[in-house]
């Protein structure tokens, strides 16, 4: 098991926003028992852009889901700031997701029956301090496509709507599960630019999970996951501009 690395020089004293230790997750898939996480120790700092890199089955999605309150750990400790997520009730988790977390999924998960603007509004309507849906859509460069339905948008556009939907509530954390997984590289880079932009502009903590090692170059830190454990963590002294990435 890896020890939690000390904060790197240059970041100063960093505020820990997520803290996980000894996290395991076991679930039944059909008749097979899957041990998705086998004891994860991890810290995520406020305002950083972190990429969690791992192959299929490494447990990265499960970890992200647990951090976002979409799933609960079988064992171990998970904290968001002072809040214990491992022991939280359903109601607490719902409030946590509503107030602090924005999600971006690989397959966008837009609601097909709502327009881009409405897909954002469905979140801002239940948020405490949201930005107007129009502003969120402008941030991802979709000010001209606000009244289109998902079926009228390209994959990249749909993903940008999903990002607008996630950031509109001005969450402290943006959790992205393979946000470029369903996109071609050019469109994927456009989406990554938007994520980097949000991170810098709004100081939102961004966690991206991917199996694409190239994306790690744009992160502050890259967390490598393997077989349900943190394999290694590397820090980038210099974040790459997403526009320079190629794959």
């Amino acid at each position: 098991m890896n020890a939690i690395p000390a904060p790197a020089a240059g970041f100063g004293r960093r505020e820990v926003i997520f803290h996980a230790s000894g996290v395991t997750r076991v679930y039944l898939m059909g008749e097979v028992t899957i041990r998705a996480l086998r004891g994860v120790d991890l810290e995520v700092y406020a305002g950083e852009l972190v990429v969690m890199l791992g192959a299929s089955g490494s447990g990265k999605s499960t970890l992200l889901n647990i951090m976002g309150g979409l799933d609960t750990a079988s064992e171990g400790e998970v904290r968001y700031r002072d809040q214990d997520l491992a022991q939280a009730s359903e109601r607490t988790l719902t409030a946590f997701r509503r107030d602090h977390v924005g999600f971006v999924f690989q397959f966008y998960n837009l609601i097909a029956s709502l327009t881009a603007r409405e897909n954002v509004a469905i979140v801002t309507e239940i948020s405490r301090d949201p930005m107007p849906p129009e502003e969120a859509l402008a941030l991802v460069g979709l000010e001209d496509r606000m009244d289109h339905f998902p079926s009228q948008l390209s994959g990249g556009e749909q993903q940008r709507v999903a990002i607008a939907r996630a950031i509109a509530k001005q969450p402290a954390v943006l959790l992205c599960d393979e946000p470029t997984g369903a996109l071609d590289s050019q469109t994927g880079i456009r989406v990554l630019e938007v994520l980097a932009h949000i991170n810098e502009r709004l100081n939102t903590t961004v966690a991206i999970i991917t199996h694409n090692a190239v994306i790690g170059e744009m992160a502050d830190r890259v967390i490598h996951l393997r077989d349900g454990r943190v394999d290694s963590i590397e820090e980038n002294p210099q974040r790459a501009d997403p526009a320079t990435l190629r794959w």
């Binding site: 008749e31 499960t62 397959f107 998960n109 029956s113 709502l114 239940i126």
Partner: protein, 676 residues
């Protein structure tokens, strides 16, 4: 929340095919209830109001001849409110341009005014003037049949004397809501009339001056009717009374009341069956639709929507569908009820129809539909929100298939892969498959009960007119009883006599015989069996069969709605699998078979359920409808079974074709990409 409400509307638009089918099931259930209850209510309310308004008597007595002076003391009998003596006389009528003999009865009115009891409702004209002996009021059915208006004249033969009279008015009476000549079952307005004239004129013509031969009595509230009847019998015995009786032995009242009673039973039994079936279907179908929205529920949860907000969202969706169906059902139910009662109005002479839609009925109809649909909805929503959002968003794990007894069987070995998929799917989702089989089966059962009513009525008439006339079997209609003639004579205390006869006639001489018998003053009535049968058949076709036809139509719509929804949901659940098969190189036909084969198998399995449930429903209705007057035979013929099976097959084929069209538009890539 506004956007979530918007989603309700958009989802409704997207689900419009299925939503419309569900609304149709609701509308059918609600329609049956509203139709039956309103039809029944309208008739009984109309009867009640007409009776009250026109002071319909409670007790009647006929005597040979009693002096008028004995009438007043009868008021002193405890419980009696009003006594109305009158003269009743048989008559024959002649009308220019109508050659058939016309029979009738003439009743007296106090000179120039309405009687205290059994008052006339004048539809046209006025009562005979006080001093006129040549004016009559005629019954409206007769007037209508001959196009008579006030001022027309007709010839009246009373006691062998012919008088020319003028029609002063056309009227309805609570005594003759259903107007048939004695011994008949169906009205013949052309050949039977009821007339009213001034008492002095009728008494003179019939030799009843200073006397009466008919008595109507009304009772005080809480009076002991039996005691009053006994007292009247004692008082009238010496005047040749045949026995006082309540209004329930008056043919018109008896017939109308029984019809209303029968409608009342239908109004409970049939809607109960329909509503129960629709409730079951609603529960199943709403549940499956919501289960299809599992991923959307997961997303809403991921955004931080609470369980209550999500449940409310789907409750709203369900409510809109239920309300749409209910409103349509209530409107159509009221409309068809109106049509039904209009049919009855051709046979029952009421002055006006009292039609109302009662609040409790609306609440009941909507309530039943709502509860059923919400149960299905909430159960499914509950299952969805209980899941971790992360779990709900993952494509479901491959379901647990096992190698069961089916696997080793020769059947399975002989099948291709696509047929195996069908069987395994059904075996895996035994409960779901069972629910579909029961749902479709029940809708087939409804078809059977509708067709049963149609057939049973025809069968009953056959029995009455083709078989019973041989005097050796049960009589399904009427209240006749059979006894040896000498025993009857003894009971009645009279010598050997006959009061009626059945004649087997050479058809060549039938018309001549009919005319000659009709001329005989001693013959009270002549009826041709063939005509009577035709009249009864027409009446039944217009009333009962209209009722049954509505049910068959509704049952058909329900059967279609259920099979269609079943097919749509099966399609939605298999979309990904079907796309995968296509990508793997299966032909469209093979892929279609996976889906259509499942639909076909479920529908075939539903047929025996339809037979069993339909037989049960028919038996239930039959038990409920077995009344004194009309007994429906309980006969389920192979045709009925065939009809129910055919209904299911047609509905399934239609649904299958609709699904096939959808399958043709299946976008493989999209279906595979979409995360469930």
């Amino acid at each position: 929340m506004r956007t979530l409400h918007l989603k309700v509307l958009r989802d409704l638009a997207r689900l419009r095919g299925q939503a419309a089918a569900i609304a149709l099931v609701i509308a059918s259930g609600v329609l049956t209830l509203v139709f039956s209850v309103m039809g029944h209510d309208a008739l009984s309310l109309t009867q009640e109001r007409f009776y009250a308004e026109r002071h319909f008597a409670d007790v009647f007595a006929e005597v040979n001849r009693a002096p008028r002076r004995i009438a007043d003391p009868l008021r002193e009998i405890p419980g009696v409110a009003e006594v109305e003596p009158r003269v009743r006389a048989p008559a024959r009528l002649e009308l220019d341009g109508f050659d058939d003999p016309i029979r009738g009865q003439v009743l007296s009115l106090p000179d120039g005014r309405q009687p205290a009891l059994n008052q006339l409702h004048l539809r046209e004209g006025r009562l005979p003037e006080r001093a006129r002996s040549d004016e009559v009021v005629v019954s409206d059915g007769f007037a209508e049949a001959h196009g008579l208006v006030a001022g027309d004249t007709l010839r009246l033969i009373i006691g062998g004397r012919l008088v020319e009279v003028r029609v002063s008015g056309i009227a309805l009476s609570p005594e003759f809501v259903y107007q048939v000549s004695p011994g008949h079952l169906m009205p013949d307005y052309e050949r039977y009339a009821i007339l009213w004239m001034n008492e002095s004129a009728l008494a003179a013509a019939w030799g009843m001056e200073g006397a009466f031969n008919s008595l109507s009595v009304s009772l005080q509230r809480d009076a002991d009717r039996a005691a009053v009847i006994d007292a009247l019998d004692v008082a009238l015995a010496r005047y040749g009374s045949t026995g006082a009786h309540g209004r329930d032995e008056l043919f018109s009242h008896e017939f109308v009341t029984l019809e209303i009673q029968q409608l009342g039973i239908m109004a409970v039994v049939v809607p109960a069956i329909f509503l129960l079936v629709s409730a079951f279907l609603l529960h199943v179908v709403m549940g499956r639709i919501i289960r299809g929205q599992r991923d959307q529920i997961a997303i809403l949860k991921a955004f931080g929507y609470g369980n209550l907000a999500i449940a409310w969202h789907y409750v709203l969706l369900t409510t809109l569908i239920v309300l749409t169906g209910s409103v349509a059902g209530i409107a159509l139910g009221a409309w068809t009820a109106h049509a039904l009662v209009d049919l009855y109005m051709e046979y029952f002479r009421f002055p006006e129809l009292n039609f109302r839609l009662q609040g409790w009925l609306v609440l009941l109809a909507v309530g039943v539909a709502m509860v059923a649909a919400l149960l299905g909805t909430l159960q499914a929503v509950w299952q969805a929100v209980r899941m971790q959002p992360a779990e709900a968003m993952r494509p479901p794990a491959p379901e647990r298939f096992r190698r069961g007894w089916l696997e080793g069987s020769a059947l399975m070995r002989g099948l291709g892969q696509s047929s195996r998929i069908i069987l395994r799917n059904l075996a895996r989702h035994r409960l779901k498959a069972l629910a579909s089989v029961i749902g479709i089966g029940l809708s087939g059962g409804l078809l059977l009960i509708g067709a049963y009513q149609l057939q049973a009525v025809g069968h009953m008439i056959d029995q009455q007119y083709r078989v019973t006339l041989q005097m050796d079997v049960d009589e399904p209609m009427g209240t006749g009883a059979y006894i040896r003639r000498d025993a009857l004579h003894r009971l009645k205390g009279e010598g050997p006599a006959v009061t009626g006869a059945w004649l087997l006639v050479d058809s060549e001489y039938e018309d001549a015989l009919y005319a000659s018998l009709s001329e005989q003053p001693e013959v009270a009535s002549v009826e041709r069996v063939r005509e009577a049968e035709a009249n009864v058949r027409e009446y039944m076709e217009e009333t009962v069969l209209a009722f049954a036809a509505v049910f068959v139509l509704l049952a058909g719509s329900i059967a279609f709605a259920v099979t269609y929804n079943n097919a749509r949901i099966a399609y939605a659940e298999r979309e990904r699998e079907l796309a995968t098969l296509e990508v793997l190189g299966y032909s469209r036909a093979q892929v279609s078979w996976v889906l259509l084969g499942e639909i076909a198998l479920v529908s075939l399995a539903a047929i025996p359920v339809a037979w069993a449930s339909g037989t049960g429903f028919a038996w239930l209705l039959n038990q409920a409808l077995t009344l004194e007057f009309v007994r429906l035979p309980f006969i389920i013929t192979p045709q009925l079974y065939g009809f129910a099976a055919l209904g299911i097959i047609v509905a399934s084929t239609l649904s299958g074709l609709l699904i096939l069209r959808r399958l043709r538009g299946l976008d493989r890539v999209q279906a595979l990409k979409a995360a469930e």
